[in-house]
């Protein structure tokens, strides 16, 4: 078995502390404190997401008829209210960024070739960008009271035709 090569971490660590002797500093010097901010974001967004997602699950699955109640009118009724628009928008952005950073960490951990990591992250960031933009546009351009074939869909939250 060949000797184990110990590599430096693939996430850029900030080496700003004077307590580290120069010969132990990794090359490249300071790359900012992105990794610390990412670490902090995971914890802050995590706490908020527990509240947002538990509320989301309770309202959509546990109250009333549960999943049977979910149809177009259910979603329209929620998004006719700015409260749920903001709730779902916050959930979308925080969950996507939290999940993307988690998958980024996993890619860094398991993909050993530089090119493999690069391509996996390109695919990841492209998917994240597309999903966040799509979800945001759907929440804000959605019409809860569409007129289908000249007929106003019924809904207590819609203005009388």
């Amino acid at each position: 078995m060949s000797a184990t090569e110990i590599q430096s971490p693939r996430s850029a660590a900030k080496i700003g502390s004077n307590r580290i002797a120069p010969q132990y500093r990794r090359h490249g010097g300071s790359k900012g404190n992105f990794e610390m901010l990412a670490w902090l974001f995971m914890r802050l967004s995590g706490v908020v997401l527990v509240v947002l997602i538990f509320g989301h699950l309770a309202v959509n699955l546990l109250v009333g008829e549960g999943i049977h109640a979910i149809d177009f009118g259910f979603v329209a009724g929620k998004w006719a209210d700015p409260f749920w628009q903001i709730w779902d928008l916050a959930m979308l952005w925080l969950a996507m960024l939290h999940g993307t950073n988690g998958v980024r960490t996993i890619i860094n951990d398991y993909a050993e070739k530089d090119a493999t990591r690069l391509w996996l992250k390109i695919v990841l960031y492209a998917a994240t960008t597309a999903i966040i933009i799509l979800g945001t546009m759907v929440i804000f351009t959605f019409d809860p009271c569409p007129v289908v074939n000249g007929v106003q869909l019924p809904g207590g939250f819609c203005p009388a035709p």
């Binding site: 999943i67 149809d71 177009f72 969950a95 999940g99 869909l153």
Partner: protein
Amino acid sequence: MPTKPAGTLYRGREGMWSWVGHRITGVVIFFFLLVHVLDTSLVRVSPEAYTAVIGAYKNPLMALGETGLVAAIVFHAFNGLRIIAVDFWKKGAKYQRQMLWTVLILWVVVMVGFSIRHLSLALGGH
């Protein structure tokens, strides 16, 4: 002569397995989230398209899948709060094992409650 560094490695035991569980549940939730945004986006296409696709979800197999997904979410949520406690609470690292067992007990309690409610709604005649 040293044999093995007993008791000094974190590998194995509660620390590693909670980490493995956190990773696996995190990835599962992330891929569901991608699909979930796409299916919800169908409300922007037409009411019929959304209601048709959501209707396809309403079967016993999906009810079990939803229960599994919620199990992953609840574990990830509770273990995530444990990780925050390990990082920010002075005694967090010392009590990480006890906190993991607390996470697992709470997870079982919540999932028993959720499963009874959700499966009786989803599988009940309607």
